[in-house]
């Protein structure tokens, strides 16, 4: 019982850290979504300059480690006179890193929409913008929901890296407590449980969103529900 007791005694501090982890992850994710969509669209721009900038950004960010990007923002930017807090650096670093990956997902999602859809819109006199907004993107969003949802699960775990720039997230709080008490098993055990308690509902939520936006699947789901009667005779003996 003492192990459990000790584990629980660390809980308040760890939950405080977990709150930071959640905040950082959510903020970074929203920024990454916006950035990813913007760069994804830019990758398909009819203008060569716009396309080039987006391509270089995506390739460079994807070609360097997240850890290095966090260090660069927190330790290198100050040389250029830009000093950001650990929190801001963490959010920005994660957002930049994830936006590059999301840009590629959005780009491929947009390209995966059937060519006939574009032609149908064009033949109705739609402008490039209208076509993108009303016809292509709504379909592309459905296509990218699974990979974009995976990123949502992953960012909570990748956010542990922001602990290296002294941000008091769940991981950093765990490290602090562990180095002060040497209760590695109890503390990192708790940290693992808390990460899982965050990630699992998130993964379930992503599954729900996937099902919700898949028109085909939704039709099937309704069919299944209609067939389900009461669980008749199971376990009455």
């Amino acid at each position: 019982m003492t192990v459990v007791h000790e584990m629980l005694s660390f809980l308040p501090d760890l939950l405080q850290g977990a709150l930071t982890t959640i905040t950082v992850s959510l903020l970074a994710y929203v920024l990454a979504l916006i950035g990813g969509l913007a760069f994804g669209l830019a990758r398909l721009s009819p203008f060569l300059a716009v396309r080039s900038v987006a391509t270089v950004y995506v390739q460079f960010i994807r070609g360097t480690p997240l850890l290095l990007q966090l260090f660069s923002i927190y330790y290198v930017l100050p040389y250029a006179g830009i000093v950001l807090s650990p929190f801001a650096s963490g959010v920005l670093g994660l957002a930049i890193n994830y936006s590059a990956y999301m840009a590629e997902v959005f780009r491929s999602g947009i390209q995966a929409v059937a060519a006939g859809q574009r032609e149908a819109g064009q033949s109705l006199g739609m402008s490039r913008r209208l076509l993108m907004r009303r016809i292509i993107l709504p379909q592309a969003f459905r296509i990218v929901i699974p990979p974009i949802g995976n990123f949502f699960v992953a960012i909570f775990k990748d956010s542990a890296l922001v602990s290296v720039i002294t941000m008091r997230d769940l991981m950093f709080t765990g490290e602090l407590l562990a180095s002060a008490t040497f209760k590695h098993f109890e503390i990192f055990g708790m940290v693992a449980i808390i990460y899982f308690c965050i990630s699992y509902p998130v993964a379930k939520f992503v599954e729900y969103v996937e099902a919700r936006f898949d028109v085909q699947k939704r039709g099937q789901a309704i069919g299944v529900q209609q067939q389900q009667g009461p669980p008749a005779v199971v376990g009455t003996g």
Partner: protein
């Protein structure tokens, strides 16, 4: 030029659509060669010919889904898309291209309905966002068009819940909702199961009877024979022969037309027997 029939009386100024020496190539591959063809308001013109003849490409050039490399397309008496004026190439701005496209309806072989929108949503989309019709008006028009194609009860369904024939009828209603001056049909029945072809052809026949101007790429020789004012036989990117359906189907002057018709009518006879 030596072509017979009503088609030759056409001129760029008088015709609704007039193709003047149009050519199109992909690199070294020439798919359309010096095509000249006029369609008067209210006419139905059918393009027939073997696959690879350039019929679909020609249709797609008419609403600028393909860009022509030579010649001029005139719509409502004016040159459009890309044309020479005073020795200089003029390229229409996207806005003008969009406005012209909005007045030309197109029906595709593969329907191309918007899968994320309901049947009603598919039909009102462009009237609301391109023509800026009030929502209620667009909706009333759409319901009237659905009644016309016999699908009133499917208004709230999604495309994947419909049969191919029903989807194609929705696609026709979607194009008609823009009040087009010209309708293009690109093998509208080729992707359909045989038993569904009739319901789509009926809608097309009704449309022709109402006086809609139509340019139709089709393998349905019965439709071409009964409905069209002129039939154009194409092969290898060229117009081989054009004329009234009676002339083309009973006494084609060109050997290749005769061959093509023999083959296709023979196989149709077989299909009919089966």
């Amino acid at each position: 030029m030596s072509e017979p029939s009503t088609v030759e009386t056409a001129s760029p100024q008088s015709s609704l659509l007039y193709l003047e020496g149009v050519s199109k190539s992909y690199g070294a591959l020439s798919v359309l060669r010096d095509i000249s063809l006029g369609i008067e308001k209210g006419q139905v013109v059918c393009l027939i010919g073997p696959s690879g003849a350039g019929k679909s490409t020609l249709l797609r050039c008419v609403n600028h889904l393909e860009t022509i490399n030579g010649g001029t397309i005139h719509f409502e008496g004016k040159p459009v898309y890309r044309y020479m004026r005073d020795g200089k190439l003029v390229v229409d701005p996207e806005r003008r291209v969009e406005a012209i496209r909005a007045s030309i309806g197109m029906v595709f072989q593969s329907f191309n309905l918007f899968p994320h929108l309901t049947v009603l949503g598919n039909i009102v989309e462009a009237p609301i966002h391109v023509l800026h019709q009030p929502r209620a008006e667009a909706r009333d028009n759409a319901l009237a068009l659905l009644a016309k194609v016999g699908l009133t009860d499917k208004a709230e369904n999604y495309p994947h819940q419909l049969s191919g024939g029903q989807q194609q009828r929705v696609a026709i209603a979607r194009a008609l909702a823009m009040n087009p001056k010209l309708m293009l049909f690109d093998e509208a029945t080729s992707a359909l199961d045989p038993e569904l072809v009739g319901e789509v052809l009926k809608v097309m026949r009704d449309l022709a009877a109402e006086g809609m101007t139509m340019l139709v790429v089709t393998h349905e020789m019965g439709f071409a024979r009964d409905v069209s004012d002129a039939v154009v036989f194409m092969a290898n990117g060229e117009i081989v022969e054009k004329g009234k359906p009676a002339e083309i189907f009973t006494a084609p002057s060109n050997q290749r037309t005769r061959q093509f018709l023999q083959t296709i009518l023979h196989s149709e006879g077989m299909a009919g027997a089966a």
